[in-house]
Amino acid sequence: MNAVAISSKQRLVEHGIISWLITTNHKRVGILYMVTSLAFFGVAGFLADVIRLQLVQPDASFVSPNVYNEVFTLHGTAMIFLFIAPFSFGLANYLVPLQIGAADMAFPRLNAYSYWIFLIGGVTIFGGLGVEGGAGNAGWTGYAPLSTIQTAAGTGMDLWILGLILVSLSTTLTAINSLVTILVFRAPGMSMWRIPVFCWDVLVTFLLVLMAFPSLFVALFSLLLERHLGAKLFDAPWGGDPVMYQHLFWFFGHPEVYVMILPAFGMITEIVGVFSRKPIFGYSGLVLSAFGIAGLSMSVWAHHMFTTGAVNDPFFSAMSFAIAVPTGIKFFNWIATMWRGEISLDTPMLFAIGFMLNFLLGGVTGVMVASPPIDFNVEDSYFLVSHFHYVLGGGAMFAIFGALYMWWPKIWGVKLNERLGKLHFWSMMIGFNLVFFPMMLLGVAGMPRRVYTYPNLPGWGTLNFVETIGAAIITVSTAVFIWNIVMSHRTAEAQRPLADDPWGGGQALEWATSSPPPEFNFHALPPIRSKRPAFDLHYPEYAKDSPK
């Protein structure tokens, strides 16, 4: 009896839920990050549906105004802080040690600690839903004075601030861990100019985190001082300055956009290379453009504040325009990689192409709003909402789904069903554009954002109705993805053992180990003599053509 009890306890520690609670292995921590962020994506997606139902027709009252404010605040906060960025960190956690030939992250226990405070931070943000007064409702930016004690007295706002502090602490620690791992723990032969572009993009992302996140910490702690010690930092009659909060927030906030999109660029680069069956075109251009984007992104924060009249418009406008140049270099290199390649339109590649089309629209509208005369006209309208959803939804989210399809076989040893994958892609592409293209037209027509309801002006009701239909299609599309996971894993045994490189064109080192990889990643590392060691291993006859 006692022996059986010990044995089942042992099993629980080795394989059950306890093993996940105490794990420090980078692959398991990475999976925890990705699963958690996808769960937050589900919740934030549900909140988006609530927003769309409220706006389906003029003068609707599906939810109360206060609940609506909480819903759009939590939707934005969750998508940005709890889904897009953490998913990338999770994928980086999983892939970076594999791609550079390391056995684990530099600081495995710090890695696990970072994950757990991220999870607790996320739950804390949503914890506001269970307290009197409701959750934070000042928008994802938490602008003062909307977030000060006079206008948001409830505990929900405190929990929003404290949750974000925890999430930011997690991100900063992850950044330190990943930077040290990439710079120090590369395998022999894996020089910096041989690491995959995804690793470079992750490295640049985490440099940005180290530069930008202190400003968010200052903003959030200032809010706490304001709320609990009466600091009056943002209260103009007492000599405070509400615009200062905007400076602090956007000094973090604009780089944060690139914290979300740079890893997505890395995912797209890897996908395009594998599914074009070609070495990546312009490796150094891709790396240097990531640095260019990062540097410029630190110098454009006040373009979010043109209409305050308190910033130097020409400087921030010029710097914002300039970001289009390194971003264009990335686009050029992706297209050149595909050019004359042996392109196979598998689901990851479809998502990559979808990413390029959507992100292009997001980027072009970004250049438009970098121009103050246009920005003054569309500021706080649905045009801006459409713009940043094309960047982060049509961009980063499509990259994330592409990455999930590409690396799913590596992580789980199971390939997702291609037919369901393509159904997922096309429904997502159609649904996404049905939501956000009409939104752009509404913005140009003058519909303000963050409004609870709107008047019955010509065309507004129809366009909003179309958007809600699009949101429903996105929801169905996500259900198809979940169904795909369930169905593919039901037939997993038929696929096993899966090849090390199930796509047949894998270049980086993760494709040189088993699917899924062993605990410390490699039984034996292949020689690393070029930028695509896995390809050299599987196709030695072409190794001489690999870029060194």
């Binding site: 794990t23 600690y113 910096m192 202190p214 640095f291």
Partner: protein, 124 residues
């Protein structure tokens, strides 16, 4: 190592240039201080890397080493530990408690130090 020094040096120079450009164009002190901090942060990293360049070597920079040696020095680390999750719980309880419930904050900081002590014991 060389590439790390170069990378952070270029970032530092960029920070300085953008800081100076911003100051001369706008005369805005808070923004200049933000950008100045960015350059100073990178300067600190460059100085550290420059100071340790002779005593530090990275396996990855040795292009001719056999790659079978990779990871030897970190694979000895156990892939399980109960302390990170406990540390995360105590950190969060301390932060949230300090703001919303001081008794919880006090209790959490005591637990926090106990967990840190255990973590340090495990590390050694």
């Amino acid at each position: 190592m060389k590439i790390s020094i170069k990378m952070f040096s270029f970032a530092m120079v960029f920070g300085l240039v953008i800081c100076a450009a911003y100051w001369f164009d706008t005369g805005d002190a808070p923004g200049t201080v933000f950008l100045g901090f960015m350059a100073i942060g990178f300067l600190w990293v460059v100085l550290y890397l420059f100071g340790s360049r002779k005593t530090t070597t990275y396996d990855g920079d040795e292009e001719r080493l056999p790659s079978e040696l990779a990871g030897e020095h970190i694979a000895v680390v156990s892939s399980e530990s109960p302390w990170p999750i406990l540390l995360a719980i105590t950190t969060s309880a301390f932060l949230i408690g300090t703001v919303l419930h001081p008794m919880l904050g006090f209790f959490a900081i005591v637990c926090f130090f106990i967990v840190v002590w255990q973590l340090a014991r495990e590390s050694t």
